[in-house]
């Protein structure tokens, strides 16, 4: 196995240990805990009142436009990291190129801001 494969073998091992550990905790709890279920306990909790109007109510997500802007910027970050490791080898050229890239996105952010997207309605 080469180094990268060994790294990911370790990651998988950590994931398995995490899962088994969590499962173990739940199993111990299952053995120790009481189990007296009744109908009232299984209702959705609404501060003591009886639940009304179904439980998956409609919710207006105020920030769905944010999510689009977020996606664009998140991809930008994914590009920034590899660029950040090598940009000094290419000098001013890489600097200008990245500034154009960031600038265009920043312009988009300013446009969204002016359009009132960044407002919790």
């Amino acid at each position: 196995m080469n180094a990268a494969m060994t790294n990911y073998y370790y990651v998988v091992a950590f994931a398995i240990v995490g899962g088994v550990f969590g499962g173990l905790l739940l199993t111990v709890a299952r053995i120790m805990r009481p189990n007296k279920v009744n109908k009232t306990k299984l209702e959705a909790y609404e501060c003591g009142m009886e639940p009304f109007e179904g439980n998956w109510t409609q919710y207006s997500a105020r920030f769905y436009v944010f999510a689009l802007v977020f996606l664009i910027f998140d991809v930008e970050i994914a590009f920034l990291y590899p660029w950040g490791t090598v940009f000094r080898d290419f000098g001013v050229t890489s600097l200008i190129e990245m500034f154009v890239f960031i600038g265009v996105l920043l312009l988009g952010l300013v446009y969204a801001w002016k359009k009132g997207v960044l407002k919790w309605l």
């Binding site: 240990v17 969590g22 120790m32 805990r33 909790y45 920034l80 490791t85």
Partner: protein, 342 residues
């Protein structure tokens, strides 16, 4: 033996981190007690309530586990694992000194950021699957927080990556002859704020918000399943506080004492900061949170990147000019904000 080794290391690390978490819990009880002019736990275990976290764990184990009748049962059961497993995986990438580490990942920074934001996925899963209005609100708030805070966090770290030209955490620490907090004060501030949001700690605990949403995404969770969310949060604290130490505070560098001691001194410094800011800053509103993320932290992180990149490329000995210009901008911006807010 070579096959079993990673599993044993993982188990040992999980137990080590857990024992620290027990201490975190006790320290937080005591600190938040003293700040509020209370004593905190005093009875359990006789000496200053040292056994209180252990008693809490026993209580979690003995608590009846209730899955509401109209919950989405599969997702309800899976959600705590989604919150817990990724933060355990993060432990594989975190070095403590240049000798004591699990594996030296060449993309460690990416790896830690990517996995530690799984907490939000687990919150949305748990909150949605509970079939409860409070928890649905909590889940949406968690999603909104992820949208506002992932970007400043990633961009603040990008500045550090540019300085050291590597994504390996060991490489980043070895590159810090001057601690990055001196070269990147803006990045450090942005990172510390975004980190608290990522950890769902009190100024930014909108998705939990006991006083508004009862317990947010975790209303319907009880017993050990709830405790797993909490554990995941504490493991995340371990990961991100270590990241703060490694990226900005020079990791294991320090005079006289051995590296591992320095690492944990700095680590517990960050922990104390988190514990105090939790009890001294009131919770922000969701719209304030989005404003803070998008209108203050994101632009400042971008400014930080632009300054850092320009100075690295154009100035041969960039360290002193970089530190001076960053501090000048930081102080100027804080002064301006004070003027505007008055």
């Amino acid at each position: 033996m070579a096959i079993a080794r990673p599993f044993l290391i993982a188990l040992a690390l999980v137990i080590f981190v857990l024992s620290n978490i027990v201490f975190f819990m006790w320290a937080e009880f005591k600190i938040s007690g003293r700040v509020a002019d209370r004593l905190g736990p005093m009875e359990t275990g006789r000496f200053h309530g040292w056994a209180q976290p252990l008693a809490d764990i026993l209580k979690f184990l003995n608590k009846e586990d209730i899955i509401p009748a109209n919950a989405d049962k599969l997702i309800f059961r899976v959600a705590p694992f989604v919150g817990f497993i990724p933060v355990v995986m993060v432990l594989a990438a975190i070095p403590y000194t240049n000798k004591i580490f699990v594996r030296d990942f060449d993309i460690a920074v990416f790896f830690v950021i990517a996995l530690s934001s799984f907490t939000f996925v687990s919150m949305v899963m748990g909150g949605w699957a509970s079939g409860n209005k409070y928890s649905l609100l909590g889940a949406f708030r968690a999603a909104g927080m992820l949208l506002s805070y992932e970007l400043p966090l990633g961009l603040a770290i990008a500045g550090v990556v540019m300085l050291s030209a590597t994504l390996s955490l060991i490489g980043i620490v070895q590159h810090q002859t001057v601690w990055n907090i001196v070269l990147q004060p803006i990045g450090f501030l942005v990172f510390m704020v975004a980190m608290q949001a990522e950890l769902q700690r009190s100024p930014f605990d909108l998705a939990v918000a006991e006083s508004e949403l009862v317990a947010g995404y975790s209303v319907e969770y009880s017993g050990m399943r709830y405790a797993m969310f909490q554990l995941g949060e504490f493991f995340g604290l371990w990961a991100l506080a270590s990241m703060a130490v490694l990226l900005f505070l020079g990791g294991w560098h320090g005079p006289y004492l051995p590296g591992i001691v320095w690492f944990f001194i700095k680590f517990y410094g960050i922990f104390l900061f988190l514990a105090f800011s939790r009890v001294s800053v009131p919770r922000v509103r969701p719209d304030q949170l989005m404003d803070l993320g998008w209108k203050i932290l994101l632009p400042s992180a971008l400014v930080n990147i632009v300054i850092t990149a320009t100075l690295i490329v154009l100035v041969p000995h960039y360290q002193l000019p970089l530190a001076i210009s960053e501090f000048a901008i930081l102080i100027g911006a804080l002064y301006l904000m004070r003027r505007v807010l008055k």
